[in-house]
């Protein structure tokens, strides 16, 4: 929680105030509205329940910061920087609040901290809505949908792209901006590029130098992605490797392009929509998209 407060929330609030996007007084005026948006943590329950509630509360706090970031990310460039976090300047560094004692002492202190942090977060969201950057309805919608990093995020994005050509073209043109509209903050992803498979081009991703991957969006890659045998062989003879390791035969007419994420770009493959999927919903289509197909070494499932 301290990390999120000192590195993500408060530096951004301070930066917004410095830039004149919001004012301290805006936040104070929003505090009543904010209070009504923060769940009260009831005391008097057993310790285990309270700890579980704290964990859920922390998740909501993190999610709220992501939502605030995605609102700001499209319009006001608020990127965390080492300067703002006080890494270079001790004077600018936000002090960590250390709490001590055993579990019985720490839990009420944590509950108080969480409530305070949530109040600030909700005040910020209220102010952003008041300033016309978003609406509280949209905020609540984004808060309710959680976007933890998992490959299902990619499946959902692919399904949407299959159904909506306009979204698809925006996704391929500027993935990060387009995905921020869906509530993916993507602050720790420098640049994201979505690679479209066609009937003549098949894209594959790898990171030969380490294991770069769009973690923030898709979670962890499969075990073999970090394995030397994949990394070395996919760049040397991709079609052979696809056949040997993934049982995928690529015809001579199809070009295979292997993207090695050696620097600041992270890639995701947009596989081709399988035949026989007419009339399927976004959710149904999403279930056909496999983790392998987002890396390019497999195809989406075919409906029965």
């Amino acid at each position: 929680m301290e990390y999120w407060r000192t590195k993500r929330l408060e530096p951004r609030v301070i930066r917004l105030i410095r830039r004149g996007t919001i004012a301290f007084s805006d936040l104070i005026q929003a505090s009543e509205a904010a209070r009504s948006r923060v769940e009260k943590l009831e005391s008097g329950r057993d310790l285990e329940t309270r700890v579980a509630a704290l964990e859920i509360g922390l998740g909501k706090f993190v999610r709220g910061i992501e939502v605030a970031t995605s609102i700001l990310g499209g319009l006001v460039l608020v990127e965390e920087s080492r300067e703002e976090a006080g890494v270079y300047d001790k004077e600018a560094k936000l002090v960590h609040r250390n709490i001590g004692g055993g579990a019985n002492d720490r839990v009420p202190q944590l509950e108080e901290m969480l409530t305070g942090n949530m109040l600030l977060l909700q005040a910020l969201l209220v102010v952003l809505a008041k300033n016309g950057l978003t609406t509280l309805d949209k905020v609540d919608e984004m808060l309710a949908s959680s976007n933890p990093p998992r490959y299902e995020n990619g499946a959902r994005i692919v399904a949407k792209a299959w159904l909506d050509p306009e979204f698809r073209s925006r996704l391929v043109k500027d993935a990060k901006t387009t995905l921020r509209e869906l509530g993916f903050a993507l602050n720790r992803t420098p640049k994201l590029v979505v690679l479209e498979n066609t009937d003549t081009v098949r894209n594959i991703i790898v990171c030969t130098l380490c294991s770069c991957y769009p973690y923030e969006l898709l979670g962890n890659p499969p075990w073999w992605y970090k394995h030397d045998s994949y990394k070395q062989e996919i760049v040397t003879s991709p079609k052979t490797k696809l056949k040997e390791m993934f049982k995928l035969a690529v015809p001579p007419s199809v070009e295979v392009r292997v993207y090695d994420s050696t620097s600041d770009i992270r890639y995701m493959v947009l596989p081709r929509r399988p035949d026989g999927t007419e009339g399927m919903s976004e959710e149904q289509l999403g279930r056909l998209v496999t983790q392998e197909s987002l890396i390019g070494v497999g195809d989406p499932l075919i409906p029965d």
Partner: protein, 91 residues
């Protein structure tokens, strides 16, 4: 924006005295074609704290293609690692 443009032929240096070490061995010294111009990509997750300059996606052939050789590698390389190579048809 940067030194290179799309479709320009470039050669990857073998060594670069700069702080950026992130160029795989298999493309060092090789000829490639610029297929992407990204400018300077802000990287605030601090994978590298210095500014490494403009970034390009460079297309290469693979080392051991299968017989029909429709296989390509695209590697993201910073400007400091690249030099312009003469045009194929230049005399």
């Amino acid at each position: 924006m940067g030194m290179f443009v799309i479709n320009q032929r470039v050669r990857v240096k073998i060594e670069n005295p700069g702080p950026n070490r992130r160029v795989p061995d298999y493309v060092r010294g090789k000829l490639g074609v610029i297929v992407g111009v990204h400018g300077t990509v802000p990287n605030y997750s601090h994978d590298h704290s210095e500014n490494w300059g403009p970034l390009y996606s460079v297309l290469f052939g693979v080392q051991a293609p299968d017989s029909h050789s429709k296989e390509k590698i695209i590697v993201d390389i910073h400007e400091s690692w690249l030099v312009a190579a003469p045009d194929r048809n230049a005399r």
